[in-house]
Symmetry: C7
Subunit: 74 residues, 7 copies
């Protein structure tokens, strides 16, 4: 096993803007204020993106871990 | 692990209007009166939304956790 | 955790007419005579709905919990 | 929990003709000669139905529980 | 629970020709030489069927249980 | 249970060319150099096939077990 | 069981450029800096590929294991 762990990406992203990919192909972008070991993620000041374009603002949102496919610091 | 937990979004949303995204792409909006650790969610005064438009009223409804993708206080 | 539990919707719906949403997008409407913790549900006098229209009567039917997405008292 | 259990539908259907809905939208109709707690189901004198029309006879068949969506005595 | 078990269909089919339905809608037909409790299945002299027509011969093949939807002695 | 086990197909295929079917309908063909009980599979000199035609060479590749649908010695 | 294990591909790929296939059909290419037993993978200097063409750069990204289908050293 490598010294670095995949979840380090989450601790780096905490309180910063991240993009979260969802099953179904769309994304949410917002400030990640919480996560857990299931990859459940809470965002604030979030907006939903379709094909990289902002579709709508959603404010605070809880994303269910098993619907998440990737998380990337913006 | 961060101090805040993703499920805090649920405790904030309790007894308030929330929007719940479902696998399949549609949403329900209603007053969240109950939830559990599986993200099973009970709404009252709920309506089903397709592409953000109200499709129909459904009153009280139980949403199965593994069909839920996100929850956002309205 | 809130005082009310999502499964309260099921106990309220027992022996009453409910609408059950299924993965795949169709629904069944009937009198719910039994359910369990997996959300397996037994209906009587049931009919299958597609886009809210009655497609056919099915009488007694067992719905497998992991194919269920929502349950709403009619 | 209610007194009646969803699996009662299976014990009623045993040795009788049932219709079984499958993920993917098609159905099998036949005499249910065995089932288990995973909803694995064995039919005899079975035929596959598409949109309610008989597509072909299949004789004896084992249906895998996690591909089953509903079971209804015919 | 009934006296007969669904897996009896597998013991009957052993060393005989069976048709195996797969998620995605296609089938394999061949001589079933092994199976296990996960419904992993090994076929010999197998061929892949699409809409009931032989698409190609594949010889020996291991089918992963969770991709299997049904098994029927041919 | 039969004497032969489905995983025997994997031990036969080891260090030989196999075709691996993947959820989504495409395949990989290559020399299987490792596998485990989850059906995670490592191939060398692999190429991706779409509709039986070589799409591209990929060299060494790890295939995740739960995305695998079948394995057949070529 | 063979002497070599599928996860050896991951230890070989560590700190090197890999291509990761995702459910939904797209890929990410980047330097793999971490992985774990769930096949959660962290990439740096990553870009998303669609049909083998670069769609966009994404920098650092965490890929959820159960959305991963394959990993190949580039």
């Amino acid at each position: 096993m490598p010294e670095r762990r995949p979840f380090d990406v989450l601790s780096i992203g905490l309180n910063n803007t991240v993009i979260v990919g969802m099953k179904g192909g769309y994304e949410f972008r917002g400030v990640m204020v919480a996560y857990d070991i299931h990859m459940n993620i809470a965002l604030e000041k979030a907006e939903q993106l379709i094909n990289g374009e902002v579709k709508r603002g959603v404010g605070t949102i809880l994303l269910r871990g098993d619907a998440v496919t990737y998380i990337s610091p913006a």
